[in-house]
Amino acid sequence: MAQAAEERTPSPGPPGFREYYARYAPFLVPIFAVFTALVVGALMIGLTGGDWLAAYIGLWEGSFGTPIAIANTLVRATPFIICGLAVALAFKAGLFNIGAEGQLYAGAVCVVVVGTMLQLPPVLHIPVGIIAGALGGAAWAAIAGYLKARTGAHEVINTIMLNYIAIRLTEWLIKSKTPYILGDPADASGSRTRFIAESMHLPGIRVTETAILHLGILIAVLLVFVVDWFLRRTTTGFELRTVGANPRAARYAGMSVPTSIVLAMALAGGLAGIAGATEVMGARYALSADFFSGLGFDAIAVALLARANPIGILFSGLLWGGLLTGARLMQVRAGLSIDVIKIVQALIIMFVAADQIVRFIYRIPQRRAGEEAMISKGWGGG
């Protein structure tokens, strides 16, 4: 043999359609999952005698069809985006953060404390409020991180338990009357905290009588790029990603796995806490025990749909906000229950999770090494 042996035989010809199709699978699967979920949703509406076309037109107009609808969607999407980042950041470090809900409450309680106890000018009070929310959420999530790092206790179990503790603790702080802690003596039902000082209200544009397009969406967009930059471009982000991708290699490379775990949880909790802050400071100015009603769990879906990609979360968060905002007009137009939207959301997640189904329907080539399988990895990474 005169010629040196080649390591592998190159494939004949330039990369064809299939190659590109395979390469963009990470983006295509979520898009096709949404599409498929909408198709199945339409079938369900149709089969139960509903008008699926009217429903979907209503859904579109109610979410993105008018400037007011878009404003409502943006407001709705804000906490989904920020909390989605909280789940995604932990996920990049190999941690499945089910605790965004508890971290939201922990952050919001701190916001209410500084909002009701401090008297500051807005230029100081708003940052103080956001920082308080971040610290509250970070401290709460760090508990789960510390337990994992020190004892190996699985973060899924611990964050779920911390959710219950946070919610019940919030409820007690609000409902305690001897003495009043956070509860408002002026509120007869005793279901909410005192209102935060006006100096801590987020500036915004009043869209309708009930809705204000507040600064939160800008904070959310900013955080998307900050988190993306942090993960990709900083050494700390590299450490978190390495611990998530291969903890053994991280140890080999001299990184401290326990430190990274606690840090990742704290940062995730901090993000969730900021979401808690923007909700309290931007919309309702007081906290109740059912304030977030599962937002932290929806955030898992938002992160999942975006495959934990921060930029992707911007879009999946908007989609989530849009579906919920548009549901009301859909209800009016097609006489359907708002729960239909919950079903469509559930279908989207099902198709993203069971991506084999979507890959089969749309003939997307199988995943290769390097591409992440998010759900199985989240559980197996413990």
């Binding site: 042996a5 080649e6 035989t9 900083t234 050494t235 291969n246 080999y252 001299g254 990184m255 290769r368």
Partner: protein, 523 residues
Amino acid sequence: MTQNGHERPVVLEARGITKRFPGVVANDKVSLTLHKGEVLALLGENGAGKSTLMNILYGLYHQDEGEIFVNGEPIRARSPHDSIQRGIGMVHQHFQLVPVMTVAENVVLGNEITRGGLWLDRRQAAERIQTISRQYGLPVDPHALVADLDVGAQQRVEIIKALYRNADILILDEPTAVLTPQEADELVGVMRTLTSQGKSLIFITHKLREVLEVADRIVVLRAGRVVGETTPAEASEASLAAMMVGRSVLLQVEKSAARPGLPVLDVRGLQVRDDRQLVAVRDLELEVRAGEILGIAGVQGNGQTELVQALTGLRTPEAGSIRIVGRDVTTATPRQISELGVAHIPEDRQRDGMVTSYPLTDNAVLELYYLEPFAQGLVRNDTAIRRHAEQLVAAFDVRTPAVTVPASSLSGGNQQKLIVAREFTRELKLLIAAQPTRGIDVGSIEFIHNQIVKKRDEGVAVLLVSAELDEILSLADRIAVMYHGQIVATVKNGELSREQLGLLMAGASLQDTSASSATLAHP
């Protein structure tokens, strides 16, 4: 295919097998024939297409083109089940046994003899196993738990499993990789017995010595093609290596005598426990000097892994001390040890040595990412990282289309070259290389061996841990034999023969090996 004057009937024939994977032609019009009662050695580097071909024959994959004939009948195996029905059995490199079940249970698994369709007939199964065991000289206790068997016995169970299913054609995938030299010799005996009783064997390996010893015919694969067919009588190790790699290969590493300097690594009374809290390394003493290669010989699982983990800070010793360049690092972190100038080629490159989903760039700075110029403060310098990766790839001949592709897309040999490149381009005082050439191609092995010797000549102390005795013999200046967590003998390379070292690795004492010049490390 040439018949080579064989009178014996052809039991298996593959004609023009082609198998494509995205971007790679794994098998390109491969043809081979297997005659009754012969050992056909299939030789090739990793990635040459041996495994793909065998998986096609066994029915795990389907060929894109070509035909397979068993006893003259064309078949298209849809699954391993079909192949077993046709009398093809396979002994995988990684045993497919259930450790908590007995030998008999493992053998009948999936093919159970039952009474009344519901109850296992253990006695009948055990009897059949004993019959097979006697007929082919494969001693094993049917009632023993597989977890309690040593590796050699587990392999015998795998062979019995295939014979129990009436296999006439046996495919042995790298069967000697996990065995001591003595166990490998026993396996050769078993292979002879099998062929003498009419079984036909395909023996996959990359070890040239074994091929010449046991094969009747040799087929060499390279880059998915059959590049040659020969017999042990016509071939030599050098000619086979040249056929495998496509150019002539230096099998013996050329090196001058070592000029040892000051001690760099000094280990005293080291005791280390493994993950199950069992003592894996006990009372171990070791010294490696600058400019010498100390080879640790031993069968896998005798504490080498835990020793290396303790030396690199990945596992905290229970007792004893480790000093590197005079500093006590017994309880130091991996980073503290690394910053002293210690490089570590881990034995499991994909699990420890790299993040396979990361591009080559990130893997190239896996340990140095936080230092200038790869980071300015907390911000990574992508340009510097990329330039560094490109330098490593060029200097160490890592075959890759770009430094931005994930490490998982590289062949094993190229992954290892990347790790070696990364570890060797740092300021080094001590190099700890664990199984540095496991499962990689001959060309890469030659390259890595030469780099290790080059580092030695530059004055680096090298601790080489390898389960391949040939590798120790060709590289080491001194050899320490490890058995059950202890160094049982330390000798100059050349003082003991291969066989004597093999006996020490199997637990014999130095007196048994009748070597006079060697010194016992421990009574």
